[in-house]
Symmetry: C2
Subunit: 346 residues, 2 copies
DNA sequence: ATGAAAGCGCTAACAT
DNA sequence: ATGTTAGCGCTTTCAT
């Protein structure tokens, strides 16, 4: 698709040339005034500034970038714009990046590897200085090109397949272990796990934590109690239904993210399961609505914004030219006990 | 802040020149092959494509844009990245824009007018082809510059001060009217409104709808029942507390957005107010968690993604060069009755 | 301290 | 059908 009138569409904007002419100086002087790279006499500086003001002149970033200048743009790619965990991370990233004078460009893949790819190549063409990535569940082919493209990359929450980069993540193993241990101490024994999709690092780690807590309490693991869902609300509901349809339904469930928890809760309500009497629930992520749910939700809270802030700082370090080995920062989760699980009448 | 080693940082990337040399053709031929503007002989085309592949060449968008080419980037600015209503709108925008081959660059102001300003000038420098804007509550000074900058702009949800542009919005007047009328039909008479901040168009319209419904039922409006809050969770809680502290607290409340509703609900729970027996609640926006709240929430649902889609289409029209007068598209809201209001024992 | 001029990577007008 | 070249708006030597 081409624009209909490419020529006419050109907006008449002030350029460095028009400013120079109006101020009666050379373009170099204007550039110097604006970038502050070199001293300019007070009189000329004044004149230039005045004209810039009057013409509402704004240097063209493309032209600037072209001349080999510093790139001040950071790409951030997340799989889902509507997942509050992810937007929370972005919020943290931005707080730090903005402070450091970088612009953030946000892309999201919506679960389509080709979109992630499109954003990747787009950001490259746009000259992004660095990349913060919450990897989607592709086969890693996406990242092959990224490896060749030598800009700093930091991954958040999940390990990108086939890419050796810095990683910031919560300790999902410990989170799952704590949650299940808490449920056990409440008297629940038949405990299920609604986990993320197969293939994610988070998914593996949570499963490991779940196993550990069970084995610690000498409770055998039942395959039917571990379900792989899709991080989405509908998936959570489907998983819960599947569990409740079992000949021997679980007494408690640990759900692997915020949206799936919402779905699971809804499904339980529909079937008139009483929580926490008939079924205890612990969810991952403490969301603004967690306390207002029916019943108020016990959660494993991740330090969401901190994940983003740390990721941004790691990137800034690399951007500053620090060469150090690839690093993993693992932040601790926190159990927040509310009303969705309680003493089980075992 | 300057990068420490600007020179060394330049990533060695294939350019059109290196491709041309490697393929033994001129740069013009490479350009022609890649843009498809002109026919190129099969043999050369083959050769070029092969080299492009091998060198993993990616045309530099900045250089392209600089040459007066079409701009394919659309800026989207929202006040709050963490408000699911807003991310829902962006989702709708993107669906359409992506289809049309545009890239979306997302910025958010976080309630700071200077950040909105920064994004505006940034997008301008970056050469954005158009802008979709959910205005923040500034004094309109931000948009003065925007008016001079002659690119298409579409506003969503709120009327930007001092800017005459296309607008897409829900019928907030009708939404508020319906909600209050429903509460009245349920037997509630003392009905409060937790509204948005003063100065927003939405705020005015909802107040008008609220007034209309009351006057229709011949219920006098009480000033103390109308509270201006801030669209955030804490604000909603504070407003609810203020209402419940009144000598004569309301029997029902209409809350002006999703996050404030969460806060209001939490505050009511803390004070052990029974809903809907003691207090009926209707909230704006149907969110994924609305049905799982305690109690399930009656809401005025906005066609969130549709708002975004329509906005994107309006922008695409203008981008295609269609000149038509400024237009307002007002979409209908929908009342969804759940359990947070019910027959009131009047 | 200031100006002239080269050149960033690319496309398009002009040659051939 | 292909190559040569000018120039997009800017920064940055290199002169002066």
């Amino acid at each position: 698709m081409r624009l209909s009138a490419p020529e006419k569409l050109r907006v008449h904007t002030a350029t460095i040339k028009s400013v120079a002419k109006a101020a009666g100086v050379s373009t170099a002087t204007v550039s110097r005034v604006l970038t502050g790279t070199d001293l300019v006499g007070d009189e000329l500086r004044e004149r230039v500034l005045k004209v810039v003001q009057k013409l509402n002149y704004q240097p063209n970033r493309m032209a600037r970038g072209l001349r080999g200048g510093q790139r001040r743009m950071i790409g951030v790619i997340i799989p889902d714009l509507q997942n509050p965990f992810l937007t929370g991370v972005v919020h943290g990233v931005e707080a730090v990046l903005y402070e450091a004078g970088y612009t953030l460009v946000l892309g999201h893949s919506g679960g389509f590897p080709e979109r992630e790819q499109a954003h990747l190549t787009g950001l490259r063409a746009e000259g992004a200085a660095g990349l913060i990535l919450v990897p989607d569940n592709g086969d890693g082919a996406n990242y092959a090109a990224l490896a060749a493209w030598e800009i700093p990359v930091v991954a958040v929450d999940r390990v990108p397949k086939g890419l050796k980069v810095d990683l910031v993540s919560t300790d999902h193993y410990e989170g799952a272990r704590q949650a299940v241990a808490h449920l056990i101490s409440d008297g629940y024994r038949d405990i299920a796990l609604i986990n993320g999709p197969d293939g994610f690092s988070v998914t593996r780690e949570r499963l490991a934590g779940y196993r550990e807590a069970l084995s610690q309490a000498k409770i055998p693991l039942r395959e039917a109690y571990v379900i792989h869902s899709d991080f989405r609300q509908l998936g959570g509901a489907a998983a819960m239904n599947q569990l409740l349809d079992l000949p021997k339904p679980p007494q408690a469930v640990l759900v692997g993210n915020n949206l799936m928890t919402l779905g699971a809760l809804e499904a339980a309500h529909k079937r008139r399961v009483r929580i926490p009497e008939d079924l205890g629930i612990v969810g991952f992520d403490d969301m603004p609505w967690a306390a207002s749910l029916r019943p108020a939700l016990t959660v494993i809270a991740q330090p969401i914004e901190e994940l983003g802030r740390v990721a941004a700082r790691l990137l800034l370090d690399r951007l500053a030219g620090k060469h150090r080995p690839v690093k993993q920062v693992i932040l601790p989760p926190k159990l927040i006990v509310r009303a969705s699980c309680g003493s089980h009448p075992a």
